[in-house]
């Protein structure tokens, strides 16, 4: 029983951490996109290259956010099944 309680606590902790990671990833994705917008204002080839890398990072962070959301949802499903 104690074992099950531990699993439940661990799942709750994972769920909380995943929400934190997805929030950070989402925020950083936005920041990277803003950097892209700033850097492309100057019409400078070198800055544009950096901007493109930022834009790509923004997408990959967006992917992490989606993965975290999906994992958090899965944990919620497991938690609700465990309660039943």
């Amino acid at each position: 029983m104690e074992h099950l309680s531990n699993i439940s606590d661990t799942l709750a902790a994972f769920h909380s951490d995943l929400n934190r990671i997805q929030t950070v990833a989402g925020t950083l994705a936005q920041v990277e996109q803003q950097h892209y917008n700033y850097l492309t204002k100057y019409d400078d080839e070198r800055l544009t290259r950096i901007a493109v890398t930022q834009q790509n990072s923004s997408r990959q962070l967006g992917e992490i956010k989606q993965l975290c959301l999906a994992m958090a949802q899965k944990i919620e499903e497991i938690q609700s099944m465990a309660k039943k």
Partner: protein, 456 residues
């Protein structure tokens, strides 16, 4: 103007006058202008290939697939929104990620829905080219594909996500090799060559190629028309189940698009494949016989649409990922393939062109540009791997950015949300075939266009 220039100008003028006079006066039998109608009738490509066949007596090996444009992508347009539904605000990020094989124990997640197509080391590309493709894919957060080859260690190391082809040559089919992949694509055919067998003669196989493929000196590399051990539907089902169980990664099938598509897809479902790759007739290759490239298969546009409709009809739309490939060159074509139902696309020719980019000048005018990237090319050492990876990464980024702009004008927040309801067709037959509204008439009058209406 100098004396020499004046003299030269005079000579050119005389020659030009004489040429035009001859072309306009002489009859065809003694006129070089005869070549113009001949070229128009036969086409320069066919004329050259007639000559090549006549010179050697063997089938021509044409690089990069068919020159024919089977899929009328330009007859589909996306429909922007303004008030009826609002466009996506510019500060909202568009989700571009995709999960391939969501039912697999270890699905393949990619940041962008564009992957690098199967182009094998040795059979097609040089080691430098393969490494550059893998590096670019890694930078962009997407996957690259081994093609029909063995496991090239340098490619595995450079690729964060590597899809490997369980192939008809048998070069990647040992557990020790396929266990190191992020997804397994069982290769039974390709758009440019159908399911025909292919042979790379031993004279074109170097030491490293032999090592990666496990070939003996003097041995040809042979791709059989069938996969060893798969002679019945049940054999295939058993193979898929075994690979899934042994690896946990997504296991899928790649086929050349065909009018028998639905029958093939039913077996894909029976086997429990995690994804299916449909390679349209426009698919490229390092070198294929023109008859297989031009006269065999099914165009990508119809293949994707039919496959998506079949999977949806069987309730497998979300479970079995559909990967489209074959002649997708522009971001618009790639996005239209996704709107028709593909979860992601592979690009080959465009990726190679992007990778070479402005390095093309090193090959021209005395060598073809492919000479820098194909295994048997004379200038493979001239390809700058870092520059090539960067070029392709920029190309991928630009393509995805263009797709994001379309998503925003459609009022979408994810590329995956774009569907055929966001498009119109400019051809009645295409509209009917793809089940897309015809752009000539409003949505509520679609049937009237086809059935006719009585005038009052």
């Amino acid at each position: 103007m100098g004396l020499l220039a004046k003299l030269l100008r005079g000579v050119v003028n005389e020659v030009a006058d004489d040429t035009v006079r001859t072309m306009l006066r002489d009859q065809y039998v003694e006129n070089l202008f005869e070549l113009v109608p001949v070229m128009k009738k036969v086409s320069p490509i066919n004329l050259a290939e007639i000559g090549m066949r006549a010179a050697k007596g063997t089938p021509v090996s044409r690089p990069l697939g068919s020159h024919l444009h089977f899929s009328p992508w330009e007859k589909l347009l996306f429909s922007p929104v303004h008030l009826f539904r609002f466009p996506t605000p510019e500060n909202v990020g568009i989700n571009t990620s995709v999960k391939i094989g969501p039912r697999a124990k270890k699905p393949l997640s990619i940041s962008i829905p564009v992957m690098i197509a199967a182009m094998s080391f040795g059979g097609a590309l040089s080691k430098h080219a393969k490494i550059a493709l893998a590096r670019a894919a890694t930078m962009a957060g997407t996957a690259t594909n081994t093609g029909e080859a063995g496991l090239l260690e340098e490619e595995r190391q450079a690729a964060q996500l590597l899809i490997g082809q369980y192939n008809r040559g048998g070069w990647l089919n040992s557990k020790e090799k396929y266990s190191r992949l992020d997804a397994i694509e069982i290769q039974l055919g390709q758009g440019a060559q159908g399911s025909s067998s292919q042979r790379t003669p031993a004279k074109n196989i170097g030491e490293e190629y032999r090592e990666v493929f496990g070939l003996k000196e003097g041995q040809d590399a042979l791709i059989h028309s069938r996969l060893n051990g798969v002679n019945t539907k049940e054999d295939f089902i058993e193979l898929v189940r075994r690979l899934k169980e042994e690896t946990g990664v997504p296991v899928g099938l790649k086929i050349a698009a065909t009018h028998h598509l639905e029958k093939e897809l039913q077996i894909v479902l029976d086997a429990g494949c995690d994804f299916v790759t449909v390679d349209g007739a426009e698919g490229g290759t390092h070198g294929g016989e023109p008859i297989l490239e031009d006269d065999v298969g099914l165009p990508t546009i119809y293949a994707v649409s039919r496959a998506a409709q079949f999977l949806a009809g069987k309730g497998a739309g979300g479970d079995v990922s559909l990967l489209a490939t074959g002649g997708l060159v522009t971001p618009g074509q790639m996005l239209k393939a996704m709107a028709l139902g593909a979860d992601a696309v592979y690009i080959g020719t465009a990726a190679v062109m992007a990778m070479v980019g402005d390095q093309i000048t090193r090959a021209l005018p005395f060598e073809p540009p492919t000479g820098m990237v194909v295994y048997t090319g004379k200038m493979t050492d001239q390809l700058d791997v870092a520059k090539s990876a960067q070029n392709l990464f920029y190309f991928l980024n630009a393509c995805i950015r263009e797709m994001e702009l379309v998503a925003a004008t459609l009022g979408k927040v994810a590329l995956a949300d774009i569907s055929k309801e966001d498009m119109v067709a400019l051809d009645p037959f295409l509209a009917k075939a793809l089940k897309i509204d015809l752009g000539f008439v409003p949505p509520e009058r679609q049937d009237v266009f086809y059935d006719g209406e009585t005038t009052h």
